[in-house]
């Protein structure tokens, strides 16, 4: 049977993390499902968790006045959704919209922040992993901004 701890331990985001830490993380984790069309979170709401996407697709959207939301990026299986739980003021900056049914593991950010404060080694491991995700997404966004397919 797939236990939460095993799913977390086998997730690429937590690759190489000692079992002691995955055990700590499991204490903050739960299985979640989102139907297609639902919003997982919205801009301005309190950011209390992040998600390991197990299946489905999530669109990150930004709200623009008098327009429908603009899709900035999509995330899918094996990816991490949300880092606003990690940094003050702990508010979501974008909408996260399930464009397909989404199965994920939710990790309670408040619970995890407390554990990271208590155990800085765990905090460093988590920060290193999120920093890598941030770097990858920043690069992807910069490439997107180049608009490389436009006529020059």
């Amino acid at each position: 049977m797939e236990t939460l701890e095993r799913i977390i331990a086998e997730h690429p985001f937590f690759a190489g993390l000692e079992s002691y830490y995955t055990n700590l993380l499991t204490g903050c984790a739960s299985n979640v499902l989102f139907d297609a069309g639902t919003y997982i979170f919205k801009e301005g709401e309190e950011a209390n968790e992040f998600y390991l996407i197990r299946s489905g697709r999530v669109a990150l959207e930004i709200f623009a006045p008098q327009r429908k939301p603009i899709m900035l990026a999509t995330l899918g299986e094996g990816e991490i959704l949300g880092w606003s739980w990690l940094l003050p003021p702990y508010l979501w900056k974008f909408h996260a919209h399930a464009v397909e049914p989404v199965r994920a593991i939710a990790l309670d950010g408040k619970c995890l922040r407390t554990k990271c404060e208590q155990n800085h080694d765990l905090g460093y491991e988590i920060l290193k992993r999120f920093a890598q995700i941030m770097e990858q997404r920043l690069e992807a966004t910069r490439l997107q901004l180049l608009d490389v397919y436009a006529v020059r």
Binding site: K68, T74, E79, A140, Q144, Y149, V151
Partner: protein
């Protein structure tokens, strides 16, 4: 004036090829189907090669061949209409002639890829020079491993060959992933640059060969990410583009470092290109 007696072996003399069909792919991109010149069978194209298309009275353009190598009665080109010459080219009526020189340049090493997984990574109109590779693999499915097609475009409106993409995705051992930089309101697919698709592919780097074509900056990041994933530089191939004129390595217009793109390329392995990619002046 083009003489009917022109031999196809003379690389500098265009062969008049009548237009059979013009298909609108997107708002600015068209596919031209031309009748292949008689006797072209002995000088048939390799996937990745290009022709010089002469629009009489306007000019000559290097255009990659985007058709099926198995269809020897036609030459197919996908052209983005961005200037006077390309606009005139795609405005040809059925029956009108277009001058064709070629095929020229190196092709994708499809035979070398036999027995391996084939990764096709395309950006924008870069899917056109790669389409013959896809046809080739699908025609000889038993000779290749998995076929993975990763395609990025500016927006859903700019996606080429939409019906074919859907049909390819239904083929066995074939994975097709499409992404756009700007998704519209009704788009339910991936949004992000083409390199963001790598994470959805289970690569077997030691038994894979990758072919990439698109804007140079895109290919640079694609090649770097493929190398990070474990592909060797010798197994990553890129299609380069420069201002080609003579197409036979005489004029020097398309010089790129020590290479002439028209003759030594347009297809190069990444190990040959790596020292040059990203240099400002080239």
């Amino acid at each position: 004036m083009i003489m009917a007696t022109t031999t196809i072996d003379d690389p500098m003399l265009p062969q008049p090829c009548p237009v059979r069909q013009v298909v609108r792919e997107t708002s600015d991109t068209f596919t031209l189907k031309l009748e292949a010149p008689s006797g072209a069978g002995g000088n048939w194209f390799q996937p990745g090669q290009f022709s010089m298309l002469w629009v009489f009275g306007v000019g000559e353009l290097p255009i990659s061949i985007s058709g099926d190598p198995a269809e020897r009665d036609r030459l197919v080109y996908t052209v983005r209409s961005v200037g006077q010459a390309t606009q005139t080219l795609v405005s040809r009526e059925v029956g009108e002639a277009v001058g064709v020189r070629g095929p020229f340049g190196t092709g994708w090493p499809v035979e070398q890829a036999q027995g391996r997984d084939v990764l096709v990574i395309a950006g924008g109109i870069g899917l056109a020079p790669l389409r013959p590779v896809i046809y080739e693999v699908l025609h000889h499915r038993e000779k290749y491993g998995r076929l993975v097609i990763l395609y990025g475009a500016r927006s859903p409106r700019d996606l080429l060959y939409r019906k074919e993409l859907a049909a390819w995705a239904r083929q066995r051992e074939t994975q097709v992933l499409v992404t756009v930089d700007y998704g519209g309101l009704s788009w339910r697919g991936n949004v992000g640059v083409v390199t963001t698709l790598f994470k959805y592919v289970r690569l077997q780097p030691a038994r894979s060969m990758a072919f990439a074509c698109g804007p140079e900056v895109m290919m640079r990041f694609v090649a770097r990410d493929l190398e990070t994933q474990g592909l060797t530089r010798e197994n990553i191939y890129l299609s380069m583009e420069r201002n080609m004129k003579c197409a036979v390595g005489f004029c020097g217009h398309c010089q790129y470092g020590p290479h002439f793109i028209c003759k030594d390329g347009p297809i190069f392995s990444f190990d040959r290109l790596r020292p040059l990619l990203g240099k400002y002046d080239l």
